[in-house]
Amino acid sequence: MHARASSPSSFAPLLASIGLLALWELAARLLGITGLPPAYDALRELPAILGDAEALLNIAASLRRMLTGFILALLLAVPVGLCMGRSERLAAAFNPLLMIIYPVPKAALMPIIMLWLGIGDASKTIVITLGVSLPVVYHSYQGARAVEEKLIWSAAAMGMGRAARLWRVVLPAALPQVFVGIRTGLVLALITMVTSEMIARQTGVGSILFNALDMAQYTTVYAMIVIVGLLGFVLDVLIEKLRYSLVQWAEPTHEIAVGTS
């Protein structure tokens, strides 16, 4: 079998998107049902949505919550994962807990957390943080565990303290793995963002999506799906770019995402 180096050519995904849109257009024309408007109609709706101040505010609110939750999760999860990777005891203490939290649908905690914190930003941000943390902890742990012992011994021999070793030796060495977690975490952040807004419909992309569905504005539904899809793709490309500029010495890993919404 052949394993080819992945070349990040930018026009293949573009072609794929155009192909998908063409397929959608064709299916809509052939089926002719109101539940599936043609791709052209949905795309024509895009400028109207993106030019509307209220819609933009909603999208901005979604992104703000997502980024807050995402950054909080990174600040929390990366150190925990790295410490777990360097201490057998910490790993033994926290692995069972993580294993039990792993299959819990984080976005489904929304109704319960809403009881405590209301339907505002706090609940949604917490749910997003929870969703992102798990894969980041897992991959940071795996990355820190695999760091060459000799590197750490050398650093210790040169008089580096424990914290400095973690920050200046373990973190850079584990960074490629950490990025695998970050990339998975980003997808999860988007999923929990949309789902939490669908459950507590107040502001945000998810609430526009479901309100449009309820009001039978089908082209808006599809236009919003395109926007969310674009958001996912663009953020993924940005993370990939950041990864490339930080850890270009490492092989790009397309690991199977370990983590769930």
């Binding site: 599936l36 926290f94 299959p103 109704p111 009881l115 899809g229 996912g232």
Partner: protein
């Protein structure tokens, strides 16, 4: 070091026990009203009670049906596309950009469209599970297959096996460890996605039970379906690990 090793499992139980104790004591001390945070003992008692309730079991069965239908279809599609992408240049050129575009899209956003196309019944939920579960399987199959030692394939071809036969009898078994890892991740994703889909719009299933309970502020009944789906996820994970051990007897253990 050796003495430290034997107490590691005990160490693992510690945070869990602390969490449960904290939850119980917060509830028992009356720091949070029972309507907001029921005691864990109450939740688990209710869970045990519901396990004998035929209505609850029917909801759970609906959820499981959707879960397995979606996972099965995703497995079929993921394996086929993954094998195709790894063994055929043209298929790869077609599939890779598609998955590059579609994988980071939060599939749950497609759910309204799926409801419009397939209705509120099983089909839309199963379709969402397929959309979410197919990518880990596809990626694992592709990578597992691409990493198979080419000499194995050459040997099989030299011994007279055809292209397809070599694919099925040599490549697929050699890629099995990776494929099973992907499938296990997909299985847990399926459990979560089916629950979320049922929460968003449905009249049955465990996810519906949670939303139904939250509308009438039955906090205990909100925890029960959530814990049930998590236990289902844990059991599926454990079952899959068992299956993996049997299928992969002789393969090196996963790190």
């Amino acid at each position: 070091m050796r003495a430290g090793r034997t107490c590691l499992p005990v160490l693992g139980a510690l945070p869990l026990a602390c969490l449960l104790a904290l939850w119980q004591s917060v509830a028992a001390a009356g720091l949070a009203p029972a309507a907001l945070l029921p005691a864990p003992a109450a939740v688990f008692a209710r869970l045990l009670e519901q396990v004998h309730n035929p209505v609850f079991l029917a909801h759970a069965a609906t959820t499981l049906l959707r879960l397995f239908a979606g996972f099965g279809i995703a497995l079929l599609i993921g394996l086929t596309l993954g094998l195709a992408a790894a063994s055929n240049r043209w298929a790869e050129a077609l599939i890779r950009p598609l998955w590059r575009v579609l994988a980071p899209v939060p599939k749950i956003a497609l759910y309204p469209a799926l409801v419009l196309l397939l209705g509120f019944e099983h089909a839309s939920k199963i379709a969402l599970v397929v959309a979410d579960a197919v990518f880990p399987i596809l990626l694992a199959t592709y990578q597992g297959t691409a990493a198979v030692e080419p000499k194995l394939v050459w040997a099989a071809r030299a011994a007279g096996a055809g292209r397809h036969r070599a694919l099925l009898t040599v490549v697929l078994p050699a890629a099995l460890p990776m494929i099973l890892t992907g499938a296990r991740v997909a299985l847990i994703i399926s459990a979560i996605v089916v629950f979320l889909a049922e929460m968003l719009s449905s009249t049955d299933g465990l996810g519906h039970l949670l939303v139904y309970a939250s509308r009438s502020f039955q906090t205990v009944d909100m925890f029960v379906p959530l814990i049930t789906i998590s236990i289902i996820g844990l059991l599926l994970n454990a079952g899959f690990n068992g299956l993996r051990k049997r299928l992969l007897a002789g393969f090196p253990e996963e790190g």
